[in-house]
Amino acid sequence: MPATFHLDPVDAEDFGRELDKIREGVLASLGERDAAYIRGLIAVQRKLELTGRALLFASWLPPAWAAGTAALTIAKILENMEIGHNVLHGQWDWMLDPKIHSTTWEWDTASPADQWKHSHNFVHHTWTNVLGKDRDIGYSALRICPEQRWHPIYLAQPFYNALLALFFEYGIAIYDLELERIPSGRKDPKEALAQLRAVAAKIRNQIVKDYVAFPLLAGPAFLPVLLGNLTANMARNVWAHTIIFCGHFPEGAEVFTEDWLENETRGEWYVRQLLGSCNIDGGRLFHIMSGNLSHQIEHHLFPDLPSNRYAEIAPRVRALCERFGLPYASGSLVRQAGSVWKRVLRMALPGPGRPSAAEPPASALKAAA
């Protein structure tokens, strides 16, 4: 029985107050150490990228190709996840450094920063895991919970999810355009066109840089450089897809219906963020490489707290969950990724799937509590 069932409104408020205390404690202690972390990380990322690209100039030597491609892949992963994602959340706005600020940052991915901030920071983080409100449930392409009505197209979802993993940044860019809202008039086609142009410009810039300019500069190493850059982009896509899918789609992540939102208190908002998110266990390096989205629970409770603080508050959040009898979903990368793929495969087929009538959605029971 999901833990929400016995969390009454008073407990939810207490839970929220405890989390607010954690948040205020972190905000009050932000300082030099945190600024040094993000500046240091940005410097490391840029040096890694320079190293990777320099090595690829000698990529007719297989070890140079492998080392260069690996360095570039790591640089691109850091740029997207621990730096880009978190800067765009405003986690570093408090430094008042215009170079590291959510209003000025642009990243090396197909989604323009402002479009992504709308669909991710606003829509996803406000309505996390609420069916019909949070478009991230299945990214408008996958059926990942039994509450979504089955359609024969979902039979192919294991195949197109694998394809999505390879081309994830393009998938997200198209998804951010919210094209499916145009027919119903919920989105202005003119706005969509302007956004499409911005996406096209970003894709063009990446293609020119990775598949034309740098290969041309390498002269005789044109082809290996092109292949190295393609590999780095695709590896980054697969990694990002894996980490992000492990955040909300493993077994145990709950989905809510819109009636949960009626008169939702701050405490209940926190509870929903917690129940809809899953962590991945790992060491410090793993957390950095995953953009600390391995601390998806902490990230969803406090999306604008600097990511380097998630690891230190995670034990406190977990202890709070134990105190309030709330689940804290966490598992190894293999377990969480396996769970996601199991769910993608299961939900490709019709039927209610695992959460059956014996286990009704949490929202139905909130009213009963």
């Binding site: 600024a35 008042l96 170079k99 600020h101 990243w107 810039n205 990446q206 840089k209 300019a213």
Partner: protein, 361 residues
């Protein structure tokens, strides 16, 4: 003509190169990578490196700064905004440039007096060591001598008010017979607390055309306009440059009987003359909100709420901080005037909330 062509050649060569480099660094700019090697190479964000720190008095120090690429030579009397990261957060304050322009070593100096409770001034005086990198604004300010300088001059300064005046006086040719006639009246608490004391005294000893009146307020009391008339009887016939505490400047302005364009005054801080009632401030673009009291400028309110506020001189001069007011009214801390129409551009550094306010930031 020749000059134009000579300077255009490298530019015409560099421009397509810079554009090409852009394709290689997208979505960053080339200088983001240059800045990795040396922050002074970046031009998008002007930096300066502190190369030496000289103690002037117990609470004042001169920072010798090498500005990065893009620095424009200043004029004596101008000031510069300095951005410094303290506990991870960036703070900007304006300081007078105390060096003469065009030093052969390319460096500039600012002389900072640690203000009681002043976060940035205290940090710069006591915690800044050679090697520190600071952010710089361009040289600003209209407190400058005309070219050629007037034949008879009076400088009235107190405390750190000497910092913009020092390079002005040093820039004048006072050793020859044809130079201007200069009187400098400077107040400081005591002999040992005179910023640039040694430099001033040796300059006065060297230059017959400079008369220096040094006043020590701890023993002699504060300078009054009547003292000024006694020390320099023709003071209203001179071209006067004054810089120091607001009370002294107000005194001088009140007693000034000379032509209006003969008195030049430099104030270090805006003087709050009225307290607004305060209110809830909403920053509409960032979606942030904060409660503002009637004494805190909206610029500071926004910054503590984490909004990236455009800012400049913080004195109401440069209009680097203007933002569009969507609703509500603000009070100008300098004049006490309450104003504000929807759509008006307001200076956030000298405006406080007079009731609830919405700002497009």
């Amino acid at each position: 003509m020749t000059l134009t062509r000579a300077s255009a050649t490298p530019a015409t060569l560099l421009r397509p190169l810079a554009a090409a480099a852009h394709w290689l660094t997208s979505p960053l700019v080339p200088e983001d990578y240059l800045g990795l090697i040396d922050p002074l190479w970046a031009t998008g964000e002007l930096c300066g490196r502190v190369e030496a720190v000289h103690t002037e008095t117990s609470d004042a120090a001169t920072l010798v700064i090498r500005p990065g690429r893009g620095w424009i030579a200043h004029r004596p009397g101008q000031w510069v905004r300095i951005g410094v990261d303290i506990d991870g957060r960036r703070h900007w304050r304006a300081f007078s440039l105390s060096s003469a322009p065009g030093r052969p070593d390319g460096r500039v100096t600012v002389t900072v007096k640690a203000v009681r409770g002043g976060l940035v001034s205290d940090y710069l005086v006591r915690s800044t060591a050679p090697g520190a990198v600071l952010r710089l604004g361009p040289p600003e300010g209209a407190f400058v001598l005309p070219e050629p300088p007037p034949p008879r001059l009076l400088f009235v300064t107190a405390g750190s008010g000497i910092t913009p005046v020092m390079p002005m006086v040093e820039g004048l040719r006072l050793d020859g017979v044809n130079g201007p006639d200069v009187v400098l009246v400077h107040s400081a608490p005591a002999h040992g607390e005179v910023i640039f004391g040694g430099r001033l005294r040796s300059l006065a000893a060297r230059c017959p055309r400079l008369r220096l009146h040094e006043r020590h307020t701890r023993s002699d009391g504060r300078l009054r306009p009547a003292d000024l008339a006694r020390l320099c009887p023709d003071w209203t016939e001179r071209s006067v440059w004054a810089c120091g505490p607001p009370a002294m400047l107000d005194d001088i302005a009140a007693y000034w009987t000379g032509p209006a364009d003969g008195l030049h005054v430099e104030r270090f801080h805006p003087v709050p003359t009225a307290q607004g009632s305060g209110g809830r401030v909403r920053f509409t673009r960032s979606g942030r909100e904060a409660e503002a009291d009637g004494g805190t400028p909206l610029l500071a309110v926004g910054e503590s709420a984490g909004v990236l506020m455009p800012s400049g001189c913080r004195m109401g001069i440069c209009y680097g901080c203007v933002a569009r007011l969507r609703s509500g009214q603000v009070r100008d801390v300098r004049t006490g005037r309450v104003h504000g129409d929807a759509g008006e551009m307001i200076q956030t550094c000298v405006s406080v909330a007079a009731g609830p306010v919405e700002i497009e930031l």
